[in-house]
Amino acid sequence: MAKIHGLMDMGRRGMMLSQTALNTTSHNIANKSTEGYSRQRTDIVTNPAIDEGRFRAGTGARLGGINRINNPWLEKQIEQEGSQFSYLDSKATALSGLENVINEQNVEGINASISKFFNSFRDLANNPESAVPRTQVREAATGLIGVLQSAKKQIDSAAAGVGKSIEAGLEEVNAYGKEIASLNEKILNVEVGGSPANDERDRRDLLIKKLSEKMNISYAEDPSTGMINVTAGKTAVLVAGTSSTRIYTTSSESEGPRVMYDLSKGGTAFDVTDQFTGGSVGASLSVGGSNGEIGRLGQHLEDMAYNIASEVNKVHQEGYDRYNGQGVQFFDMTNPAGFSVETMTLNKEILKDVGLIAAASQPNSPGDNNVAQVIQNLQFQKVMGDGQYTFDNFYNSKVGEIGLATRGAVTALESQKSTLDQLKNTRESISGVNLDEEAAKMIEFQKSFEASARMIRVADEMFDTVLNLKRM
């Protein structure tokens, strides 16, 4: 038979339970905007019933546990799509930057300068006797050099920017690895007690996602300990249980930035660069690496500048200047360190005296414009790429290539963004906090708290009634 005692106990437990539930509600409301937070739910289960003769009477409710509402499969999907998104995002950003270097839709760039350069020789051919077109040739050539050099500088700084972003990305990766390792330890400690470490797990899930945004990783949870081991790329073990290892960059002139991993502390360093194909670091490595778009464009620019200089020089040296002397080098290519865009310059003598520009094919022929004609005709000669392309052709096709790559990355990014947004929406639908829902719960548990308290009062009154029986 039920006892008043039991009644009172049930009331007390009900109050405590409502309090816990309200606590969870409050926690949910407070973390409404916390990144990666999964709403929590107080699971309430019935207390074991007791026998009441032929019947079983309930003994109220108890706390079954506080669990987070979370779909691990969905989290995994978000992690993977997020990695891809971040890869495309980084790639699109880097390529857009590179695109700016060669974008001359609204300004005069390399293409315009090449035209100007060759057209200045056409003007010279029209009037080889005069100093005016000669000065024009000099100005156009200096202009071309300037434009090439500024493009090269921008490309170099883009490459440096990518190197920096890889470095910064790895710093973050290492910080995440460290935090994951420490969260592993906490989760282990908490869950040994049997209750799930909701908030720590939320945080760890978030960190995994962030890590995956930086690079391609693989990870697995050890079901017996609840700890997650993370491998970056294919072989670099970043987090093993409660310990984490650093990865870092080195940079080499020929190969661009490299990612290194120490097999053991202070031990052999392994080059794991090629393993990183995802995330923002992967994107930076692909764009800024030795075979990346940035390096390639820089190389193309060097090739083109070299070919322009050497082809023009070859013809120019066949010619004769205003003083009937054999043509000198038009572009100075005597630098012992070899030719490079950075050091590209006109012949110092020509800078001083435009009379040294050779337009004639023979001495004592001021009206002879044959050399100027051959130089201007270089614009239509297939000089680049083993005699496949003209300068214009070659450069324009590079502009097209960068444009295509950028457009590809941007388009893919947009569709990836909508995929990721969809997944994030689904996640929010499952794990996100809804204030209306929490408000309803608040009222619900406040009422049950009140009712439980009233129950205690009723039991108290019942005790009173019983105790006053003999006086009646």
């Binding site: 409404k32 905007s33 857009s96 695109e99 700016n100 060669i102 001359e104 839709q105 609204n106 293409n111 315009a112 090449i114 035209s115 100007k116 060759f118 057209n119 056409r122 003007d123 051919a125 029209n126 006797e129 082809e311 070859k314 066949e318 004639a360 094919s361 023979q362 004592n364 022929s365 001021p366 009206g367 002879d368 414009n369 044959n370 004609q373 051959v374 005709n377 239509f380 000669q381 214009d392 450069y395 324009n396 096709s397 502009v399 097209g400 290539e401 960068i402 444009g403 295509l404 950028t406 457009r407 947004d421 929010e428 639908s429 499952i430 996100g432 906090v433 809804n434 204030l435 408000a439």
Partner: protein, 366 residues
Amino acid sequence: MRVSDKMNQNQVLNNIQKTRSNIQTLQTQAATMKKVSKPSDDPIGAAKILENRTDLKNLNQYEKDIEHARTFLETTESTLAQLNDTIVRAKELALQGATDTNGGLPREMIAEEISQISNSILEMSNRTSGERYLFGGYKTEAPPFAQDGTYRGDAAQVQIQNHREQFMPMNLTGSQIFMGQNLGFQETIKRAWEVPKTLEELQAFKLNNIEKQFEADELQQNQIETRGPASVGRAERIQTDGSVTSNADPVTGSRGVNIFSMITGLEAALRTNDKIGIQEALEPLDQAMNQINMARAEVGGRVSQMNATQEGIQKQIIENKSQNSIIEDADAFETFSNLSKSDASLKGILETSGKMSQLSLMDFLR
């Protein structure tokens, strides 16, 4: 579907973001009236645009080249016209001098005028266009003819580019017009076609020139004046058997006349009362006129060829511009209607989201 607060928020933010970025793109389009503002907007198009721009710049340059050559050729033409008039006058005088019944005008007087004509021909032969001598070949900076009529220029024709890889000789050389050398069939001006376009061609061209110079010198030496001072100085060729035959070049059929020595010869004949000599000058005078007219025809031909090329270039420029416009220009109507559409949708998003986020269950409790 369960909707959480954050979901709602993300949705609103995403929509706003999307519309705003859309508006920004459209605004750039509206401001520049270009739909391609960077290569990735239309990669193939962007490369094509650059190609077209280069073409356009080149076409404009060719037009400039043509204008330049036209000035030169027009000066040449007016000089030749004047030269022709002068030779016509010389012939009139020669006709007067060739008869004994010339109204008593002494040949001495006629010789005086011929001497003046000789001087003015020398002046014409040393005309300039700008600072360049018209008839010196490559030697454009010194007067091509000396006082005694010796030619100091060369036989070179300056080539002007009037289209892509298309060249046209601009000048006629003094040796062709005044000395009757290097003429084609029936005194036509031979055009020099070979224009070096590559390094290899340039090297070959240089060698070839040296050879030609050698041949020209040889030719000069083999040219023989067959009569004395009264001779009209036309080149006559001596056959191997020693007999003088035709005065035409056996290969080209050309009868080039050295105008200077002819006029000098005429003058000498007049002064020495050499009637036969004067009469003999009449035919070469006709030949000289023919020679000059052929040169004028050549100049006219070149100008009309250039005009045709220029017309073609202008057409190409228009085509080029319209092609580029199709690729890169934004459709104004479309841009502005899209812009107002996006504007309206942004307003809609902002309005609805403002109202929605104000509502909460909290407001209805108590």
